[in-house]
Each structure stands twice: as structure tokens, then as C-alpha cells.
């Protein structure tokens, strides 16, 4: 093929790719099937630092607050072993804010989740089709941090 014609086709293909990428804002994002091991976390306290450092707002130390935030409609996440946080958009066929117990049952647990992974504008999203393993709460960090926040554990109870 004529080298100039090849270059021209290349440029046109590039232009099409760029146009497609710009249109990505309205097109569905391709999903990847994944299996991720990680801890179920309260993403607001974890990312905002509102109650302290990230290692204090996970695990048993933050369990009650994680229940509050999940029931409060704050996005629940899976923090994978490499630190990547996945926002859970569906869990075992249920929407995450459905008024059921499904997402509350696994707060702070270390799980292995199988499902569909989407990435959009820097955020990882996960549709959990199946929890293939659940080790329960393995991060017993209340031994190091106490309870965060302190009022999650009323002394007079």
C-alpha cells in the first residue's frame, strides 16, 4: 500500500478512536470478570479521613460505624489486598441500598468476590455476582485502635 495512504488511514483510525473515547461518556463501559479478595469497607470514612487514618477505619475497630454508613446509604467498598478500592454496585443480585440485610451481613468481613469489574474516570466499580468465600472479620484492629468512633461502643449498654 502507498505509504501516504497508510498514514492517512492511520490518522482516520486515530480520529475515530478519539471520537469513540470522547463518546465513552455516554456509552456502556466494558466489564471484566474478576475474582477479588478483600475487606468490605465503609468508603466514606476510609477515603475522607473524617475519623482518622485508613488503618483505623476498617476492621473490628470500625465495624459498628461501617454498619451505620452502609445502612445510611454510603457506598460500600471492597479493599483488595493491594489497596485498590472497588465500589460495590450490586451484591448477589441485590442493589446495595435495598432495605435488606445482605450488605450489612458482610460488613468488615474479608471475602472473595466474583463478579464484573468496571473502571470509569479513575474509580473501580464491582458488581458482585457471588461471594465465593467469607473468612469473617479477620482484621481485629480494635486491639490497636480501640473503637472508632468511641461512641460506637456505649459503655452503659
Amino acid at each position: 500500500m502507498n505509504p501516504l495512504r497508510t498514514a492517512l488511514f492511520g490518522l482516520i483510525a486515530g480520529a475515530c478512536a478519539l471520537a469513540a473515547s470522547s463518546a465513552g461518556a455516554i456509552a456502556a463501559t466494558p466489564a471484566k470478570t474478576v475474582e477479588i479478595k478483600g475487606e468490605i469497607i465503609d468508603t466514606w470514612c476510609y477515603l475522607s479521613g473524617v475519623m482518622g487514618g485508613p488503618e483505623a477505619v476498617v476492621g473490628s475497630a470500625h465495624h459498628t460505624c461501617a454498619l451505620w454508613c452502609a445502612a445510611g446509604g454510603i457506598p460500600v467498598g471492597v479493599r483488595a489486598e493491594d489497596g485498590t478500592v472497588y465500589m460495590v454496585l450490586k451484591i448477589k443480585g441485590e442493589d446495595p441500598l435495598a432495605q435488606t440485610d445482605t450488605i450489612l451481613e458482610i460488613q468488615s468481613d474479608t471475602i472473595v468476590a466474583k463478579g464484573s469489574h468496571y473502571v470509569r474516570d479513575g474509580i473501580n466499580y464491582l458488581v458482585v455476582a457471588q461471594v465465593v468465600a467469607n473468612e469473617g472479620i479477620t482484621n481485629k484492629n480494635h486491639e490497636d485502635f480501640g473503637v472508632v468512633p468511641g461512641f460506637a461502643f456505649p459503655e452503659a449498654e
Binding site: L4, A7, L8, L11, G14, A15, L18, S22, G24, A25, I26, A28, T29, A31, T43, W44, L47, S48, G49, V50, S60, H63, T64, L67, W68, C69, A71, G72, G73, I74, P75, A80, D82, G83, T84, V85, M87, L89, K90, D95, L97, Q99, D101, L104, E105, Q107, S108, S116, Y118, R120, G122, I123, N124, Y125, V127, I137, K140, H142, V147, F153
Partner: protein, 197 residues
């Protein structure tokens, strides 16, 4: 002649590509803090941000799985920002009682809105910031609405949980989990041991 025409066409496309790339870059670098009246709290990576965009059901936006009315409050919602087409995850409303933003966004499902609030976060595990919405209005409306609908919506969803004290100490679903596994989630014996220490 053919050579010259082809070269001209190639050059035109190249310039177009570069221009588009530069324009995209400029849009993504826009300063959204200009004009914001958001309250600040010293949160991690906190930046004021006011912008316009369309309220969307995030899963619908990503996958094409689109129930009516953005999932009727059961799904995480976001805003596709008008200026750059970015999908912004709205995690939090303006209340400080562990409340998400879905009840504040849902009335605007599929509509264009103006919002004011904070972009939050700088964790290496999330390559973008999440949003705390403090004010919302239909795009171009005169008056802002405070994004504080969650607790009243909760009260409507839980008529049997009326009483004194914050909602989270009265929520039946939370109470069920604490009754089952304790406040540490490790069983009541672990709670007792912790209290005794």
C-alpha cells in the same frame, strides 16, 4: 496532485486531532472551585467544587442495566459532569450522621442539576475523588436546596423506629446485626472482653 491533496488532508486531520486533544486536556483541568460556597471540614484531599451535570444511576451508566427512576433509591447515584463528561460518584450528602446522597439526588434522576460541595480523597487505591454534595438545584434554578434529605427519608422508611436519639441507634437493620454479632462484629464475648480491658 494526488500526493499534495493527500498530504493536505493528513495535515488537516492531524491538526484536528491535536486541537481536540488539547481541548479535552483543558476541560479536564478546569477549576471547579470557582464560585463554590461549600463548607469545608479539613477532610483528606478536600477541594470545593461546584458544577453542572446529569444525575445518573451509576450501574445503568456503566452497564446498560437501567431500572426505572434510577433504581428508586436502591442504587448508588452519580453525576455526569457537563464540562468534561466525567462520572462523579456522589458518596455523601451534607448531613453528619453517616448519610449518603441518594435521597437528595433521586428527585433529579435523569435531569440536569447544579451542585455545590466538596471533592474528597487522595488514597492511592482510588485514582479519582468522590463527591460530597451540600447544595443541589435543577440546572439554572434560582434557589439552592440543602442536601439534607436522608434522615427524613429514613424516618419515612422506618415508621416503627420512631423515638429519641440519632437514627443509627434506632435503625432496625443495624440493631439486628449488633444483636447477632456485637459491636466489634466478633461476637458478644469479644465485646465484653473489650469493655473489661
Amino acid at each position: 496532485m494526488i500526493f499534495k491533496t493527500t498530504l493536505k488532508l493528513a495535515l488537516t486531520i492531524s491538526i484536528g486531532l491535536v486541537t481536540t486533544g488539547v481541548a479535552t486536556g483543558v476541560a479536564s483541568a478546569e477549576d471547579f472551585s470557582k464560585g463554590s460556597k461549600a463548607a469545608t471540614f479539613g477532610l483528606r484531599g478536600e477541594t470545593k467544587a461546584t458544577f453542572s451535570g446529569k444525575v445518573v444511576d451509576i450501574l445503568c451508566e456503566l452497564s446498560g442495566d437501567c431500572p426505572a427512576n434510577c433504581g428508586d433509591g436502591n442504587r448508588n447515584l452519580g453525576i455526569v459532569r457537563e464540562a468534561d463528561g466525567k462520572l462523579i460518584l456522589v458518596s455523601k450528602n451534607a448531613q453528619f450522621e453517616f448519610n449518603g446522597a441518594v435521597d437528595d439526588l433521586l428527585p433529579y434522576c435523569g435531569k440536569a442539576v447544579d451542585v455545590d460541595g466538596l471533592m474528597i480523597g487522595n488514597d492511592p487505591g482510588v485514582k479519582a475523588q468522590i463527591y460530597m454534595v451540600q447544595l443541589i438545584r435543577e440546572k439554572g434554578a434560582a434557589d439552592w436546596n440543602k442536601a439534607e434529605l436522608w434522615t427524613s427519608a429514613w424516618a419515612k422508611r422506618n415508621p416503627g423506629a420512631a423515638g429519641k436519639g440519632p437514627w443509627y441507634n434506632r435503625d432496625p437493620r443495624v440493631a439486628k446485626q449488633i444483636k447477632k454479632d456485637g459491636r466489634l462484629g466478633l461476637g458478644h464475648a469479644a465485646d465484653k472482653k473489650y469493655q473489661e480491658e
